[in-house]
């Protein structure tokens, strides 16, 4: 059915602007990239809304006038139980609306893009049906790229299998953010973890993995985390992480973000922290020469962000590694009858003509914390009872502050400033702004109210906070990833404290009001109000998203608890290394790209030294 009525009602399309008329078509393309349940859900909601309008007025939404639509929506908003559902419906709609509105204003002028260093990429369709290699690396993200480079430099013939496609910096600069969004994310960005509190968990899918779409923030693994990994879990390689973190930082050219292009959003965070006396600073990022395009999450259009496809994979290809794109691995091939136990023999990749196979004595699993457990299950390697469990994510929520002066948060660095005042309590606040509609912050209201928020979005500054969680998730599924995540009571408290801290920061920076993201009480104008609201709020009412899934094929000493041994080798089979976020035995408590790269370096080097 047509989404026109839904869009017209929610965005209060009164015909005064051109862009809302184009939103339904854009929404259709957004939905097309999403998994079936999400698609069906949005369409069902649209039908429900239409049916409600018919019941109230005898006509569908599309046939109503503006004021009639407002009155229909007002009837819905009066029911508090419906608010969270309506907010979910707003997410894809705002994504489409934000894009069309930005296109209306004209795409920002772009400077000349840098030329990407060369990669040896081959499409899966052009790859021979039968081939051999010394090592197959499944996944080309932070872990896979690092593993491929280490192995290729050691002289091994390496083939990297990547489900996504290769996107060049030039192609990022050419197209609007939303078109890239649908291609660069698994499930169109709508990966959802079900549980007591549903979480949106976006994961990248491209040559370069999630590093193509992350914010570029590079934290070294904190020492206390490394100590816990090595002493409590027996992940012995963590002891030598310092050297590998240095190497990863060198490769990614990590440096503190200069203030020149930081953007107003970050400066507000710095100012607020300064007034409160909190510890805050521009983040260390892997984007030398960043021009503040604020499009990290859909691929850097200037080539400044050193995602692994610009930094690590070119080195790997120079050493002889080859990348096969569009290659979804069906299963790892296992020789079950080898003397000494089963041994990995290569990988089988899906293709319409029956697939292709690569034989290799070493298989490196780097399909990400959400992809690796289903892959191992498909390969009959999923027998360990803890495989897929121990999923840590960084549950996150965001808060916006309205300022008197325009902030234009989307001009500047996307994730610019880290506020570490509460990091000891497991809360890390990062000033994060996104292109319109792409952030995890959902503007409040429906109809005219939402439209006014959209029009005034340039005066909003947004902060995000992620918390160090207790591993409460599971990756289920064999052919498709299914996520279950139950937020621990302790972590729910942390989230509410994080909202309070962000509100405090925004008020200190001079915000007129703070948008809480809580559907029932979306706006507060003082800390007292905020405390009152939070006292009556549970974490379930927050808009939660989650980032940085880790730990689903954890490495550790205890064979009962950890599917991989202390050197990152999968238990129960020879010749399989796990070198991605899933191998990290516990929550890294910071943005994990450096930790993943260091782990992949340590694991592959340990393998080569054997």
């Amino acid at each position: 059915m047509s989404l026109t009525g839904l869009v017209a009602a929610v965005l209060a399309d009164d015909g005064t602007a051109h862009w809302p008329a184009r939103v339904p078509a854009r929404l259709e393309t957004v939905l097309a990239s999403m998994p079936l349940p999400a698609r069906a859900g949005v369409r069902a909601a649209a039908r429900g809304l239409d049916a409600y309008a018919r019941a109230r007025t005898g006509r569908g939404l599309a046939a109503l006038t503006g004021p009639e639509r407002e009155s229909v929506l007002a009837g819905l908003v009066a029911r508090p139980a419906l608010l969270p559902l309506l907010d979910v419906l707003k997410v894809p709609l705002l994504l489409a609306a934000g894009t069309e509105r930005m296109l209306e204003d004209g795409l920002p002028a772009r400077g000349p893009a840098r030329t990407d260093p060369p990669l040896d990429c081959v499409s899966a369709h052009a790859w021979p049906a039968r081939s051999t290699a010394d090592a197959v690396v499944i996944g080309s993200g932070a872990g896979g790229a690092t593993a491929a480079r280490t192995l290729a430099r050691a002289g091994l013939a390496v083939v990297v299998l990547e489900e996504g496609q290769h996107h060049s910096t030039e192609s990022f600069g050419r197209r609007p953010p939303l078109e890239r969004f649908a291609e660069l994310y698994r499930d169109g960005g709508a990966t959802v973890a079900v549980g007591r509190v549903p979480l949106l968990l976006p994961v990248g899918r491209a040559v370069g993995g999630t590093t193509v779409v992350n914010s570029g923030t590079c934290y070294r693994t904190p020492d206390h985390v490394l100590a816990r990994w090595s002493t409590d879990f027996g992940f012995g390689l963590a002891e030598g992480f310092a050297r590998h973190l240095d190497e990863a930082e060198r490769t990614l050219r990590v440096a503190t973000q200069p203030l020149d292009v930081l953007g107003a959003n970050g400066k507000i965070a710095l100012a607020g922290a300064d007034r409160l006396g909190w510890q805050a600073a521009p983040l260390r990022r892997n984007a030398p020469g960043c021009r503040g395009s604020c499009q990290c999450v859909v691929g850097c259009p200037t080539g400044a962000k050193q995602s692994v496809q610009l930094s690590v994979l070119p080195d790997a290809c120079a050493a002889g590694a080859r990348i096969v794109t569009g290659a979804r691995v069906e299963r790892v091939l296992i020789d079950a009858d080898r003397p000494g136990g089963p041994r990995a023999a290569g990988a089988r990749v899906h293709r319409e003509d029956g697939g292709f196979e690569i034989l290799a004595p070493l298989v490196v699993i780097a399909a990400g914390a959400l992809g690796s457990p289903p892959l191992l299950r498909r390969s009959s390697l999923g027998r360990h009872p803890r495989l897929g469990r121990n999923l840590s994510v960084h549950p996150a929520t965001s808060v916006a502050g309205r300022f008197a002066e325009p902030v234009t948060a989307w001009e500047g660095v996307l994730q610019s400033v880290g506020v570490e005042e509460h990091h000891d309590e497991g809360v890390l606040i990062e000033a994060t702004a996104t292109p319109p509609g792409m952030g995890s912050f959902v503007l409040p209201g429906l109809g005219g109210e939402l439209r006014r928020e959209l029009e005034g979005a340039d005066r909003l500054a947004t902060l995000g906070a992620m918390i160090a969680d207790l591993p409460g998730g599971r990756v289920l599924g064999r052919d498709r990833t299914l996520l279950r995540y139950d937020l621990h009571r302790r972590d729910a408290g942390r989230l509410l404290r994080a909202v309070r801290a962000m509100g405090e920061l925004l008020f200190a920076a001079g915000a007129e009001e703070v948008l809480t993201g809580i559907p029932a009480t979306p706006r507060v104008r003082s800390m007292t109000d905020l405390d009152e609201v939070l006292a009556a709020t549970s974490a379930r009412q927050l808009h939660l998203s989650a980032y940085h899934p880790t730990g689903t094929v954890a490495a550790g000493a205890d064979p009962q608890r950890f599917p991989a041994d202390g050197a990152g080798r999968l238990r129960g089979v020879h010749g399989v290394l796990v070198a991605d976020a899933s191998v990290l035995p516990g929550c890294p408590e910071v943005n994990p790209q450096l930790s993943i790269m260091a782990a992949a370096l340590a694991i592959t080097e340990a393998h080569l030294e054997r």
Partner: protein, 477 residues
């Protein structure tokens, strides 16, 4: 009865192997071309063990590969990894020459229960030159035309180690004789060679002794021979060793007549063992004697010096044979004929010394190894027929003796001529002291006619004529 382990049936070597033939058709696209070429692969696959469907069997493959307009290599060879269930893979790696380039075909069938037939018959592959891929393609096993020949080609031949069959059989019994003898033809000069090594354990219980002789049959000159021994017998695991003369797997060395005859030869077995007498009679010595060839064909390299002449042998065809028993027959004829192309004819026709048996006509043990298969299937068939009816017959005489016989739809006639001027007559002594005379030549002529019955008449199937390259002897008392 001997209780020693049967050669070739020890724990380390599987008793039987697997041999089958497979033909596949398909296409090849070379990277440098924009068209596909038809390709055909015919393979003979042999494994050292009976194929295990649930495990992994490594096998060798030889055969012919034809690629339209690019390659026709009858000497393609490589290896197979046959593991349809354990590894779900049947991998082919075949090296061949195409257009002067050394190329390797590497591919595997990927077996899946979802499409068992397609996955067992489709072989995608990649071609490599110096490790770099140069083309890809797919071979298919054509079920309609090839399934029956494929299934019918399966054989599970015994695996025998030619070296193990050289080990001495004698274990101290009285009245036994054991022989290692080698005959060969030098293709360069046409000369024949005969090396005879014998262990005799006299029936009276006196000390066993080793002795023998070497003989050369030059094409244009008199036969020259020299005896060695008798020398005390010293047991050895490998074969025969006495008086500085050795027979061991792959090697024959020695000298006789004060060094005027010297030989130093290497032996390359080129075929499976050939049991001229029934196999059971070699394993359990129930017959008066039995003869067999550890390898039906062998090639010899090295030197043989007699007087001032040195023969330098390069891939000289011949065979080594073994005899173990109570002594020589009353009357016998023997032929070893290398028919070329890997085919071999071996005949022993003999009359026993045993009372009663000596009244019988000669028992003919005839083995024709053709295309890797031996006819008649059982040597008893030729020797005794159906209680005597239909047995093969021999007319032993000199200079010409003949053997004729028929089984199934085939019949054979062999005529051997040993001209008097090429003969070496030697005196044999049995363990019981009896004497026999053997008239031997390694430059005999032979004519072999193999016919097949076909709707009302006999048609010639093959005919071989050997001119001075057959090895034969006739023994009398």
């Amino acid at each position: 009865m001997s209780t020693r382990p049967v050669p070739g049936a020890s724990g380390t070597t599987p008793a039987r192997g697997t041999v089958f033939r497979e033909a596949m058709l398909g296409t090849l696209r070379l990277d440098e071309e924009d068209r596909t070429r038809p390709i055909r692969l015919d393979l003979t696959v042999s494994a050292d063990r009976v194929m295990r469907p649930t495990g992994t069997t490594d096998a060798r493959a030889t055969g012919r590969i034809r690629i339209a307009g690019w390659a026709d290599d009858p000497d393609a060879h490589g290896e197979l990894e046959i593991s349809p269930l354990a590894r779900r893979r049947i991998r082919y790696r075949i090296a061949f020459t195409a257009d002067g380039r050394r190329v390797t075909l590497d591919g595997w069938k990927s077996v899946t229960p979802r499409s068992p037939v397609a996955s067992m018959t489709v072989l995608p592959y990649t071609l490599y030159e110096d490790g770099a891929p140069i083309g890809t393609g797919t071979l298919r096993f054509p079920l309609t035309t090839q399934l029956v020949p494929f299934l019918a080609s399966f054989r599970f031949p015994r695996r025998e180690n030619p070296g193990a069959l050289l080990a001495p059989r004698w274990q101290g019994e009285r009245g036994r004789t054991e022989v290692w003898y080698t005959t060969l033809t030098d293709p360069a000069t046409g000369s024949g060679l005969w090396l005879h090594h014998e262990l005799t354990a006299p029936a009276d219980g006196s000390e066993p002794y080793a002795h023998g002789w070497a003989a050369v049959f030059p094409k244009d000159g008199p036969v020259r021979h020299a005896r060695f021994g008798p020398a005390p017998w010293t047991a050895t695991e490998a074969g025969f060793r006495a008086d500085g003369i050795t027979v061991e797997p792959g090697r024959l060395t020695g000298e006789a007549d004060g060094g005027t005859l010297r030989w130093k030869l290497t032996e390359r077995p080129m075929a499976e063992p050939l049991f001229t007498f029934p196999r059971w009679s070699w394993r359990r010595p129930l017959l008066p004697a039995a003869q067999m060839l550890p390898a039906a064909r062998a090639l010899y390299d090295g030197t043989f010096t007699h007087d001032d002449t040195t023969l330098t042998l390069t891939a000289a065809p011949g065979a080594s044979a073994r005899i173990y028993g109570h002594g020589n027959a009353r009357r016998w004829a023997w032929l070893h004929a290398d028919l070329g192309g890997g085919d071999v004819l071996e005949i022993v026709a003999a009359v026993s010394m045993r009372p009663g048996l000596r009244r019988l006509p000669p028992l003919v043990f005839l083995r024709l190894r053709r295309g890797g298969r031996t006819w008649p299937r059982r040597s008893e068939r030729a020797a005794v027929g159906w209680a005597g009816a239909g047995r093969f017959r021999a007319a032993i005489g000199l200079p010409t003796w003949t053997v004729t016989g028929r089984t199934g739809l085939r019949r054979i006639r062999v005529e051997v001529t040993q001209p008097a001027d090429r003969i070496l007559a030697l005196d044999y002594t049995d363990p019981d002291g009896a004497h026999a005379i053997c008239r031997n030549t390694e430059r005999a002529d032979a004519h072999v006619l193999l016919e097949r019955w076909w709707f009302g008449g006999w048609r010639t199937e093959r005919e071989w004529t050997l001119d001075g390259t057959a090895h034969a002897e006739v023994g009398t008392r």
